[in-house]
């Protein structure tokens, strides 16, 4: 999911930097609205470290090697911080591991960062899930969707960017075929990523629910109070935390 230097035209690199700059600005603004932006920093930094390590690990799946992207997971747990964490993680990977490239940093941050923001949105949809389900199941379902759709979106953006930028000299049909094979090979990883996100989110819900409270966009008292009324003893202080985190 990391486009190396020289694989896309310079115009695309520049547009990629422009767009990722705009998104970074927007995310920073959202983060600044927070009464205490530093409160979420440990979580964001820890997940940036996890992103840096996990997405560097290549899973050999002949004839290619793939890696997870953790887009949905970061989006679900970090919200707007996710894009910033991904940007930092990608910068370190390009600099120290030669994974991706500095000229394509903007484009790569879009490939992984946009699905993270979409995953953030998808994770929010849990409030629309049937009330009959327990909050833990609802979290699990929305977490799975965030992770799986995040991965699918990342693969789709990656492939569509490259499929239209096959340079002269390369056999376009072969390259297209190779890209589609790569996309199909990511199928199992989509499930893995979804399950992993669902497990982590439900685990956090059980052990440290305050880590998930940063997700709340607009505290709608109706559902927020509904969450408090859930028989979870640790949730007693969540309402104020939810408000703070927006």
């Amino acid at each position: 999911m990391h486009i190396p230097d020289g694989f896309i035209p310079p115009q695309v690199c520049i547009v990629g930097y422009g767009l990722s700059g705009l998104i970074t600005w927007h995310c920073l603004r959202q983060v600044q609205r927070h009464p205490d932006p530093a409160a979420q920093m440990p979580k964001a930094s820890l997940l940036a470290a996890a992103f840096f390590v996990v997405t560097s690990i290549q899973i050999p799946l002949p004839p290619m090697s793939l890696h997870l992207v953790l887009s949905g997971l970061l989006g679900a747990v970090l919200g707007y911080y996710a894009f910033l964490a991904i940007l930092i993680g990608l910068f370190f990977q390009a600099l120290f591991l030669g994974h991706g490239g500095l000229s394509t940093l903007g484009v790569n941050s879009l490939i992984i960062g946009i699905p993270a923001l979409v995953g953030y949105g998808i994770f929010h949809l849990r409030r629309w899930l049937p009330r009959a389900l327990t909050p833990s199941v609802r979290d699990g379902i929305s977490g799975f969707l965030a992770g799986a759709i995040g991965m699918m979106l990342a693969v789709t953006i990656f492939i569509s960017l490259l499929i239209f930028a096959i340079p002269v000299g390369f056999d376009a049909a072969t390259e297209r075929m190779a890209l589609l094979t790569l996309g199909i090979a990511h199928g199992p990883l989509v499930l893995v990523e979804g399950i992993f996100t669902a497990l982590l989110v439900t685990f956090l819900r059980r052990t440290k629910p305050e880590l998930l409270t940063g997700l709340v966009s607009k505290p709608t008292p109706e559902w927020a109070t509904e969450r408090i009324s859930q028989p979870e003893p640790t949730n007693s202080g969540n309402y104020s935390a939810d408000r703070l985190c927006d």
Binding site: H99, F170, E175, L182
Partner: protein
């Protein structure tokens, strides 16, 4: 993502021998005169030595990039491919440049790959990295590996980046 390129020096010897044996009786004398005047035409020997560059493409994990597309650009025309081809099972591809200058080899498979510059000179090729390679005759000419540093250095720098992130966690989670 990494394609170290190794060079092997191979000499080809083309021996071109022209043979003038069946001259008709009519032009026999004329032919004989010609043979006498231009002895070079009859038994000239031409030796051409070409240098073949062998490119080896592998992922940073060490796994070869097999059956990847390769495009070679000559120094004269960097826009149009000079030749195209495919790496073999071992991720290798050979080409014989015909002019001096900086050649560019692009290896690509499913959006993954790399670009390597191959400096070609008529005299000696200065090896840029004296690291010993597998074959004793092959000299490393060029590599697209951005990390010509040792693996230790690489891990230390990656570890430093990681520690920076963990340090940030600790800094921001310290007690108020």
């Amino acid at each position: 993502m990494v394609a170290p390129a190794g060079k092997s020096l191979t000499g080809f010897k083309h021996l071109k021998l022209s043979n003038q044996s069946c001259l008709s009786a009519v032009v026999n004398s004329l032919g004989w005169v010609l043979l006498c005047c231009q002895p070079g035409l009859s038994h000239g020997a031409i030796a051409t030595v070409t240098r073949t560059f062998s490119v080896q493409a592998s992922y940073s994990s060490g796994e070869p990039i097999a059956m990847a597309q390769v495009v070679v650009y000559s120094p004269e025309n960097p826009d149009q491919p000079w030749t195209t081809g495919q790496t073999n099972e071992a991720g290798e591809f050979d080409f014989s440049p015909d002019m001096v200058g900086d050649w560019e080899v692009v290896i690509r498979q499913a959006g993954h790959g790399t670009t390597v510059n191959v400096p070609v000179s008529t005299t000696a090729i200065a090896p840029i990295d004296p690291q010993p390679t597998d074959s004793p005759t092959a000299t490393l000419v060029s590599t697209s590996d951005p990390l010509t540093t040792s693996p230790l250095q690489r891990w230390v720098s990656a570890g430093a980046a990681l520690w920076g992130l963990i340090g940030t966690v600790l800094f921001f989670s310290r007690g108020k």
